[in-house]
């Protein structure tokens, strides 16, 4: 669906359906994927969050090492080191120096920087595994239910109802108390099997509408198999829903994992998770507040960053959310062209003018403000 078209080759006709589009020169004749990417890049908080997230996780991974590769930090999270200076943090920002124990030492003398970095790595890879497995299962279940309908849909959706009745934290605690001692990786795998329900419902709803569209009919007439229609034709059109809800699922997964570890059903000692660090040092807040602050700050930061990225992705895939209401208009760019068409709620093709093109009024940004009472963002979803 997203064949890149050279902007110069695209004929300057307006889209035949959809509301009054405000097109800028940049957005004429650009593939949908690139449009989405551009809108995401224009969402500053989301981009900054994505970059920060990668930097933080990369920093933690490089400090702890990965697999057989040792990290650059001198202590290991399990080493017992004699406590110096009452375990206070040695990190100084000006002049910047890490010192021996930048985040201090915990009550038995383990280096807290190494523990927090280990917890950060554990928590972040667990949240990706939980989120991705959940998304994968959700897409499969939702796609099959929405595409085949009938008894397949009934069976799969009743199955979803059965799992959704049990809150995630409850089923997570039960699963965690069973497999938590098998290590973070297996725990994350098992947790992933119980978080797919939300995505399954969204994907099913998307498939139910998309399967009635002409391009599916066309693919079927052309002899495409069911699998090909599902994965090559329908799924790419539902990709927005999938990506956004996966991101939000990942953000929910870090809260789930740290909460379970806090309650004692997640990662078990001697291994480390951010939630576990907080639960171990909750009572030491008065005497050694840094033992609480570091893991707490990293949980909030990770979760906040992923949520911001999710928000940016949602705006990028569904720009309808971004409209301005009231008699307020954003300045349009110099080269903007306002294309008056049918309103968004009229069914497609209901009011197509000659040649399939809507009336191009060619009004530019000097149009009086009170005429336009809302800025309507370009809406590629309606181009079919």
């Amino acid at each position: 669906m997203s064949i890149p078209i050279d902007p110069a080759l695209e004929p300057p006709t307006a889209p035949s359906d959809g509301g009054a589009h405000v097109q800028t020169a940049d957005e004429r004749g650009v593939s949908q994927g690139r449009l989405t990417f551009r809108r995401f890049m224009a969402h500053k908080p989301a981009v900054v969050s994505a970059v920060l997230f990668i930097l933080i996780v990369g920093f933690a991974v490089s400090a702890t090492g990965i697999g057989p590769l040792p990290g650059w930090w001198k202590w290991n999270y399990e080493e017992l080191i004699p406590i110096t200076n009452a375990g206070k943090p040695t990190l100084t920002l000006w002049p910047f120096a890490l010192g021996d124990h930048p985040f201090g030492q915990n009550t038995v003398g383990k280096d807290y920087f190494a523990m927090v970095m280990r917890g950060l790595v554990n928590s972040s890879y667990m949240m990706f595994i939980i989120g991705l497995i959940g998304a994968f299962l959700g897409v499969i279940v939702g796609a099959l239910a929405g595409y085949y309908r009938g008894w397949v849909d009934s069976v799969l959706m009743r199955l979803t109802d059965i799992v959704i009745v049990i809150p995630v934290i409850v089923i997570g605690a039960v699963v965690g108390s069973a497999v938590g001692n098998l290590g973070p990786l297996l725990l994350a795998l098992f947790l992933g099997f119980f978080v797919w329900t939300g995505i399954a419902r969204l994907v099913r709803a998307e498939f139910l509408t998309l399967r009635e569209r002409e391009f599916v009919e066309a693919a079927r007439v052309a002899g495409a198999s069911d699998a090909r229609i599902i994965f090559k034709h329908i799924l790419p059109n539902a990709i927005g829903v999938v990506i956004v809800s996966t991101t939000l699922l990942i953000a929910a997964a870090i809260i789930l994992e740290t909460s379970l570890s806090f309650l004692g059903y997640g990662v078990r000692p001697p291994d480390v998770s951010l939630g576990l660090l907080i639960s171990a040092n909750e009572s030491a807040f008065q005497t050694r507040p840094w033992l609480f602050w570091w893991p707490a700050a990293f949980i909030v930061i990770l979760s906040l960053l992923v949520n911001f990225v999710g928000d940016g992705l949602r705006d990028a895939f569904d720009p309808r959310q971004k409209r301005i209401v009231f008699r307020k208009v954003k300045e349009l760019p110099e080269d903007a062209v306002i294309v008056a068409g049918t309103t968004a709620d009229v069914p497609e093709g209901a009011l197509v003018t000659a040649g399939g093109a809507a009336i191009v009024e060619g009004v530019t940004s000097d149009r009086p403000e009170d005429v336009l009472d809302e800025e309507i963002a370009p809406d590629p979803d309606r181009r079919g």
């Binding site: 809150p167 409850v170 699963v175 069973a178 909460s259 959310q321 301005i324």
Partner: protein, 511 residues
Amino acid sequence: MLSFVLRRIGVSILILIAASFLMYTLVALAKDPLEDLYASNSPNRDALIAQRIAWLNLDQPIPVRWFNWLLGAARCVIPFGGCDLGVTIQNQDVTVVLARAMGATLQLVTASTILAIVLGVLIGIISALRQYSAIDYSFTFASFLFYSLPSFVMGVLLKVFVALGFNDWLDSPVFTWPWIIALSLISGIFWQAIIGGNRQRRLVVFAASVITTGAMLYGMSITAWFLNPSLGPILTPLLIAAFAAGMVLIIAGARARYAWRTAGVTAIVLVAAYFVLQPFLKSFNGWGVFALFVAAALVGAAAGWFLGEYDKGQAIRIGVLTGVLGMGVIVLDQFMQNWNSYVNNPKVNGRPIATIGSQTPNLQGDWWIQSIDTFTHLLLPTISLMLISFAAYTRYARGGMLETLNQDYIRTARAKGLPERTVVVRHAFRNSLIPITTIVAADVGALIGGAIITERIFAFSGMGALFNQGLSHADPNPVMAYFVVIAVVAITFNFLADLAYSAIDPRVRVK
């Protein structure tokens, strides 16, 4: 309609049974209930093991155990059927434990749910009305922050900063000048951002709120108000009048004379009641106070009925709201008058905000003192639960309001010259509430069971604690009892949400 309800109930029961099997199997496989006994070295270990196997039927395979459990649980639905949810590993009857836990949890979640809905919707709508302004961005950031804050972090922070901080500060409750200035400036910025308007109006609002807040804080400081708080005979009538005026302005608009008359009469009756009730109020108990609220609502309704002219329904609404809120002010004043004797109670010892449990053990006192005690214990967990769900409501309310404000009928309402207040309150607000009902219903179901972490942090023994302790001691029956309650509540509330949806939105038909 009837067939829809019946079919839905039938499917729900089947889902419940299947989910209970899934849960039972998982719980049974998760941990061995005999684990602690195998590890013990008491002389009668084998006898204890045999006893526990008999109590929990551990000699039978899991499906058989589940089926027996299900038969016992099914009797709970039949009236007087002899509800049987099994026993705990200490051979206590689970139904008894469950009833106690449910009571505690309902007490905990009711206030936080109501507050979260009211505040979340209110702030979401303000945010939508001021879209892309500084206040919108601040609310958006705050809601993201609260949404990303795990409840255990929130709980610990509240314990340390709010509880310990406030209790320490109460030793000498004086605002220093930097605090007064900072708080006044914050309130000035906040109110000018919410009220909005042109630059002149913003400046006036800013100056007014800075001066009011500063004077209030200074006054509280020099009179040591926090040691002996009360609203007194001046502030109480003023607050009642302010609520009455606020209700009129928001619901009916400044030009509706019948609304002013209704609210005015209700407020006058309430102020009179305040002075008449003063000597007796201390001897009232919970039912008495409840009766007062009902009486106030009736007075408001009567005022609305007789003075409502052409819009009796709206006048009654204004009257009832004014009556209930005004009575709230009177009751609040009475609580404040009792605050000092609560704080100086030897059991409380000058540190009122509690961080654990649900009541001060062996506290002596009348209903007012006991209620203050409950309030100080529930305050922190309520704030913690509220802030978390509040964040989601803000987002939904904002999105819903923006969606509604973009509809054509809003344009029509504006075009025919309705005042902005009418457009927002009558046309947009009501319609934006429709999608929120569904989310509220689903959340109420989740909240009753979802306080597992908050209850652990504040050592509150409700449903969450029942589940948590059951699971960590490998005790299957309390965990299953917990599951049954939350699953039934969740299914019921979803069902109610669907019905409510079709009731308030005629475009939606249940089928």
